[in-house]
C-alpha cells in the first residue's frame, strides 16, 4: 500500500474557502438554498462548509442536513461491503428549495445517483447542484458531473482517495492510497 498526499492542509483550507465563495456567488443570502451532505463522509464537508458560510454571512440562516443513502444503493446484495445504515437528519423543508448535494469524493457517480433518489423522498426541490471536494476524473459509471469541484485528480479505479479530517484522522488533507506501484 502506497500513500501519497495529494492536497496538503494549507491548500485544503484554501479550497474550502473558495468553494464557500463560489456558493455565495450563486446563492447570495441562502434564503432558498440548503446544503445536504451525503453519509458517511460527505457530511463532514457539508458541516465544514456550513460553518465557513455562517462566518462569512452571519445574517443568513444556513441549513445543513445529513442524508443517508444506504437503502437506495444499487449494490444491495451485490457488494461484500456491509451496507450499514447511518443517520439521516434533514430538519428543514426541501420542497422548492435549491439543494446543494455535497460529497467528499466523486468517483463512479453511483452514490450521487442514490443520493438523488433518497433526497426525493423528502420533497421536490426547485433545483439540485452537486459539490465535491475531489473529482476523480475518468472513473464515472454514470453521466453525473459536479457543479462545484475542489480539485480534479487523475487516478485509476484501484486507488482509494480519502478526504481526511482533523477530528477523524488527525489532519485536514487528502490522501491517495495505491495498492501497488504499476
Amino acid at each position: 500500500m502506497q500513500a501519497r498526499e495529494i492536497i496538503g492542509t494549507k491548500e485544503f483550507h484554501l479550497i474550502i474557502k473558495r468553494l464557500a465563495f463560489q456558493l455565495i456567488e450563486n446563492h447570495s443570502d441562502f434564503k432558498d438554498t440548503v446544503l445536504i451532505g451525503l453519509q458517511d463522509r460527505g457530511i463532514h464537508l457539508a458541516d465544514k462548509l456550513g460553518d465557513v458560510l455562517r462566518e462569512m454571512k452571519p445574517d443568513s440562516e444556513i441549513n445543513v442536513g445529513h442524508l443517508d443513502i444506504t437503502f437506495f444503493r444499487d449494490d444491495f446484495r451485490r457488494s461484500d461491503k456491509p451496507l450499514k445504515a447511518n443517520k439521516t437528519e434533514i430538519n428543514f423543508v426541501i420542497e422548492n428549495k435549491n439543494v446543494i448535494l455535497i460529497d467528499d469524493v466523486l468517483f463512479t457517480g453511483r452514490t450521487v445517483r442514490a443520493g438523488l433518489d433518497a433526497m426525493m423522498a423528502f420533497g421536490r426541490p426547485a433545483n439540485v447542484e452537486l459539490l465535491t471536494f475531489v473529482d476523480r476524473r475518468y472513473t464515472r459509471h454514470l453521466p453525473i458531473e459536479a457543479s462545484y469541484v475542489g480539485k480534479t485528480v487523475d487516478s485509476i479505479a484501484k486507488d482509494k482517495v480519502l478526504v481526511e479530517w482533523t477530528k477523524l484522522e488527525g489532519q485536514d488533507r487528502v490522501m491517495m492510497y495505491s495498492s501497488e506501484k504499476e
Binding site: 443517508d68 437506495f72 444491495f76 456491509p82 445504515a85 439521516t88 423522498a121
Partner: protein
C-alpha cells in the same frame, strides 16, 4: 461481511448481543424513513416475500406486510383458512409449492412450536418466525426491547415484569430470552395456573401479587388473556382475574413512581388494563406498534442481505 449471525430469524435464543445492536441500529434508521413524506425505500425491490399465516393474526400480519411494502419487496399473502391445508397438504408441500413461484423469504405464523425451525431445514428460503404456537415470537420481543430502550435509554439493568397469561404466550418466552440477554431482570406475575411450571428454569422471579410486582419493576408488560387458547378454566371468573391482576389508574398512581406500561395487543380493555391506563402517558402501546414496523423492516433487510444471488 459484518451482518447477522443467523440466516433465519427463528427465535431470540439464537441471537447474539451484536445481532441485537445491529437490528436496533438499523431500526433507528428505518424509523426515520417511515416518518418521511415518502415512506418507502427501494432496497428489497428484487425480493419476493410470502406471508404464510396458518393461524389468525391481524396486527402482526399488517405490520409485516407494511414493513415489506415499505422496503419495496413484492408480497404474497396466504392464510390457512382459505387454502389447501384444509385438504390435507403437508406444511413442506405447501411451502415448496409457494417457493416454486420464486419466493425468497417466508414470514410464517404456525400453531405448532418449532414449525419455523422445521421449515428452515427443508426449504431454500429465509424464514422469519412470526410466532410458532406458545414457543417464540422474536420480532415482538425485539420491538418490545427496542421500545424500552427508546423510552428509558437502555434495557440493561431495567426491572421488567410480565403480567398475566404467561402460559399461553409466545410473547412472554421470547421477551424473557431477549430481556435477559440484554441485561434486564425479569419477573413473571399472574395466577399460579397461568405461570408455566418450568418458570424456575428460565432464571426469572415469580410473584403472584400484582402490587408487589409493580412496586419492584420499572416496566410492566401486560399480556392479553388468551381466552381462545384456554381449554380449561385457569381462574374462577374474568371478574376475579380483573380484581387481582387488572391494572387500573388508581393502582398505577399509588406506586409512588412512574413505571412504563406495555401491551403487545390486542388489548382487552377493562381486563388486563383499563382504558385510562392504556391511554395514559405512561403507556407506550402505540410506540410499540410504530416500532414494530421499523424492527420488522430491519430484520427483513438484514436477512435479505444473506440471500445468495445467482
Amino acid at each position: 461481511m459484518e451482518g447477522l449471525s443467523v440466516d433465519h430469524l427463528l427465535g431470540i435464543k439464537d441471537l447474539t448481543i451484536k445481532d441485537f445492536q445491529l437490528i436496533f441500529k438499523t431500526a433507528d434508521e428505518f424509523k426515520e424513513v417511515i416518518n418521511r413524506p415518502i415512506k418507502k425505500v427501494p432496497s428489497l425491490r428484487d425480493i419476493t416475500i410470502a406471508n404464510l399465516f396458518f393461524e389468525n393474526s391481524t396486527r402482526t400480519k399488517l405490520s409485516f406486510e407494511l414493513a415489506e411494502k415499505r422496503l419495496s419487496s413484492d408480497v404474497i399473502n396466504f392464510s390457512s383458512g382459505t387454502s389447501s391445508v384444509k385438504k390435507g397438504e403437508t406444511l413442506v408441500d405447501t411451502v415448496n409449492n409457494i417457493l416454486a413461484m420464486k419466493v425468497d423469504m417466508v414470514v410464517m405464523r404456525h400453531p405448532n412450536p418449532g414449525a419455523a425451525a422445521y421449515l428452515s431445514k427443508h426449504v431454500d428460503a429465509k424464514i422469519v418466525n412470526a410466532g410458532d404456537g406458545a414457543h417464540e415470537h422474536p420480532t415482538q420481543a425485539l420491538l418490545d426491547a427496542y421500545s424500552i430502550q427508546e423510552k428509558l435509554g437502555e434495557v440493561k439493568g431495567q426491572k421488567v415484569v410480565i403480567v398475566g397469561d404467561v402460559l399461553h404466550s409466545r410473547v412472554a418466552l421470547s421477551n424473557i430470552y431477549c430481556l435477559q440477554k440484554l441485561g434486564a431482570e425479569v419477573m413473571l406475575c399472574g395466577p399460579a395456573t397461568l405461570i408455566p411450571k418450568f418458570a424456575h428454569t428460565l432464571g426469572v422471579k415469580v410473584e403472584h401479587n400484582l402490587r408487589k410486582a409493580l412496586e419492584w419493576c420499572d416496566v410492566a408488560n401486560m399480556l392479553r388473556i388468551q381466552l381462545e387458547r384456554q381449554d380449561n378454566k385457569y381462574f374462577p371468573s374474568l371478574r376475579e382475574y380483573v380484581m387481582q391482576y387488572g391494572m387500573n389508574k388508581q393502582l398505577l398512581d399509588s406506586l409512588g413512581k412512574k413505571i412504563v406500561v406495555m401491551h403487545p395487543g390486542p388489548i382487552n380493555r377493562g381486563v388486563e388494563i383499563t382504558s385510562e391506563v392504556a391511554d395514559s402517558d405512561q403507556s407506550i402501546i402505540l410506540s410499540q406498534v410504530e416500532n414494530g414496523v421499523a424492527i420488522r423492516m430491519a430484520v427483513l433487510y438484514l436477512l435479505a442481505l444473506k440471500i445468495n444471488r445467482d
